[in-house]
Symmetry: C3
Subunit: 344 residues, 3 copies
């Protein structure tokens, strides 16, 4: 496809500026560090400006930054720019990439209980196991070796990747994506200490994923003793995230890899949690709050607050305290001198 | 079932006090935040007292707390109470919840080596794979897509959830529960650095789970180069716990999600580890010790000690040091002023 | 096998010193804590010296340490020693342990697309699913219930353990080992925030594992939006490691359990990361650098540097700062006294 066609397609999605130049043939999108000819590549910001002078890419996606654009002009590289260049980059990939998506079909090796209800246009791969009373709606795609326990419902167009396990009574909303190895609706970690050891509490509740939720590979979302563990619409979890029994997570959140929510945590909408953040039992996190990676949250966090560290404190305090942490040895030495001086 | 019957059943389990009132019909147990009529709900303590005035629940489980009980009386809500109300709550769930448990049967799609020994009343689900010389005892329940490597033994009534993998020579005790995606007995991370790179050490040992051990979803327990990795009876692991090669964990421990034990760690009985705690190589943890979440333990911990932080220190020190951490910037400013003053 | 034969075999591998004594029969290798007669056991260093006086082991592997050797002589225990006794230990295990490795065969229950190319001497276990255009080279071993998405290539002698999932376009090099439940080539966590919520970026790239890479159980290595996520030859990952989209990891690295690399991280050769270490987006780590367990790396790390803590600082600073951390309460009290004194 000619670069002018690429620009035409992109401008149907978002508002763009472009300089088409020699209008080269574009065959794909490449990362700037390893760009090749006949591809369009992506300069995220000035940090990557030096690549403009050396890249073999035939065209560039740029931010709305006149300096970078002039630099591309100097190199004779045609470019297209937008306010959010990352969005342009996403749309450019869509132009060239055809993701693998199998044709609707039920593989003969799948073991499906006769009481399961399966609508049209569904793909069920090899060796999938479906227990009684499961409901699978239109356009759902279930990859091989997924196991679905009884009474699960899976709404339109949800995708379940290979080797995922969906436990009893889980409700999976429209357009959810469950990645490989994820376990949804497993038993919450509920034990009561007794003089004879741990007494296991039955976990009679269920997990509800609202529409558009995405759950990363090998993540775990547990069901509670009673009631629901609920994840709000369009919330996205990276790999190996753990959501304990009875948590309620709002809409449009994003949790990075290995985030842990203990039991009964309440998270508002639009909350961002960095990798390996952990939230203690029964804590409440307000809308739009953020935690940087590695945070250990042991108290409620207000709407819009940014926290860091373990135990987590407001981010602006963390930045200063952690800077001083490095100087503690020096501070301690001077401090001892002072104490000595004051005693004389 | 009438509330009076609920109370009668519960009092067969533990000592209870109750006020039966209008003796309503009870059809299930509900979480207090979303209780509905004709259910019994659970007030864990005074933190939840305000719910008593607004709940539509038809009955309540209460602690032995006269204030809360009087409050329920004022609202005309019948209640049942016990010293450990959480235990009452667990028994109440048992009254109403029938967990899914498949009828003994071996699915025709299971691939079972002829040398495997399988006793009576066993459930083996679809696509389970059983390698040579595996022994499966009476009442064991193996869900679909579990893979069992050679020479594994699985004792009475153990439950293996879907997509778990059990590696060679693992011994699983009576009444163990292995959750979905867990990997038991995989190769320990053993490499010797040489001038030609890492030399892989064969991992000829095995994992032993004593009776009543529970292993959370996507957890990993590795086997050692020689000898055993052993988990003591009734010890419970939450999801995504990692137990390195050659560890020995005692009885009745509970480890929360994403706990990591490096190689050769020795943990006593009744040890509690908070989420994302990690213990370094060859460390010893005494009976009844505890670590709060996110701890990084790099030295031995005595019996009964409570530790926190990374590197972990006694909890009472951690509480004070982490409180001062927040004030480091302020302290640093005043400190600099002092230094300046002392120089004049 | 007689001890003299054991020594003869070991001396073909590395340079050894030995005292053969009564030349006992040796039937296996045992851990020193639970050694039994007719086994050879391993004393790693002086920390374990007390075992020499009490062990029932018939022979010992020792370091080149005259004190320990004399101690064994006093007890009349024959021994063999080398500069790196751990290497001797590894070779000794090889002498006695026959790891399970199935005979080449394709199980009839495997579901293999006709367009897949499969070379000779391949083992494909029960219920393995192979999508179109996958290439499987000579000597590859794929355990049951592995799922391989389209266009994957698996080079000579690679081993894929049960329930692993390999996503589209992944390239697995010669002699790689993928442990159970690992997910290779899943979609990177790429979303662009828009006014309508998260926009999913297609992940059109792939994962490349060079030869000799080992990936632990339930680990996840994500593919990027464009280009590659690449792991260098002979690099080893323990369990539950997460490698984000677009990372590049060098050769001969070793990452312990639950290490997290966010997106676009660049790691040099021979880098060692302790358990639960995390590296933030786009960070660069130089050759031979090390991070101790639980580190949170938020800035570039130079070649050979050792870092610790979160945010990570040079290890020598961390050791001193964390020592003072414990004394903060005491320091704070004295400090307040000083401030008070200076005001008088």
């Amino acid at each position: 496809m000619r670069f002018s066609e690429v620009v035409a397609h992109l401008s149907q999605k978002i508002s763009v500026t472009a300089k088409e130049g020699k209008n080269p043939e574009i065959k794909g999108v490449s990362p700037i560090e390893e760009a090749t000819m006949q591809t369009i590549s992506y300069i995220e910001g000035r940090k990557f400006a030096h690549y403009i002078n050396i890249t073999p890419a035939s065209a560039l996606i740029l931010p709305q930054d006149e300096t970078l654009q002039a630099q591309a002009d100097d190199q004779g590289i045609p470019w297209v720019a937008a306010e959010v260049p990352r969005l342009l980059f996403a749309h450019a990939i869509d132009l060239f990439y055809r993701p693998f998506h199998p044709t609707p079909d039920v593989h003969p090796s799948a073991v499906i209980d006769p009481s399961a209800e399966i609508q049209e246009n569904v793909y069920i791969g090899a060796n999938v196991v479906v227990y009684p009373r499961v409901k699978i709606s239109s356009g759902v795609c279930i990859y091989p070796n997924v196991v679905i326990y009884p009474d699960v419902t899976i709404d339109d167009r949800a995708i379940l990747h290979a080797n995922a396990t969906i436990h009893e009574r889980t409700q999976i909303g429209k357009d959810c994506i469950i990645h490989s190895g994820a376990v949804i609706g497993g038993e919450g970690f509920g034990f009561v200490p007794t003089s004879q050891g741990w007494l296991k509490m039955q976990q009679s509740g269920c997990v509800v994923l609202e529409e558009g939720v995405e759950v990363g590979s090998n993540s775990n979302i547990d069901r509670p003793a009673v009631g629901e563990t609920r994840i709000g619409r369009n919330t996205k979890f990276d790999n190996a995230v753990h959501i304990g029994h009875g948590c309620r997570v709002g809409e449009n959140c994003a949790f990075a890899a290995q985030v842990v929510l203990a039991g009964g945590v309440k998270v508002g909408n639009n909350v961002l949690l960095g990798g390996q953040s952990a939230i203690a039992n029964q804590i409440t996190i307000g809308d739009g709050a953020r935690a940087t990676g590695h945070s250990g949250i042991t108290r409620d966090v207000k709407a819009g607050e940014i926290v860091s560290g373990s135990p987590a404190v407001p981010n602006h305090i963390y930045l200063r305290s952690s800077a001083i942490y490095k100087r503690l040895p020096e501070m301690y030495r001077m401090f001892q001198k002072l104490v000595k001086g004051s005693k004389n």
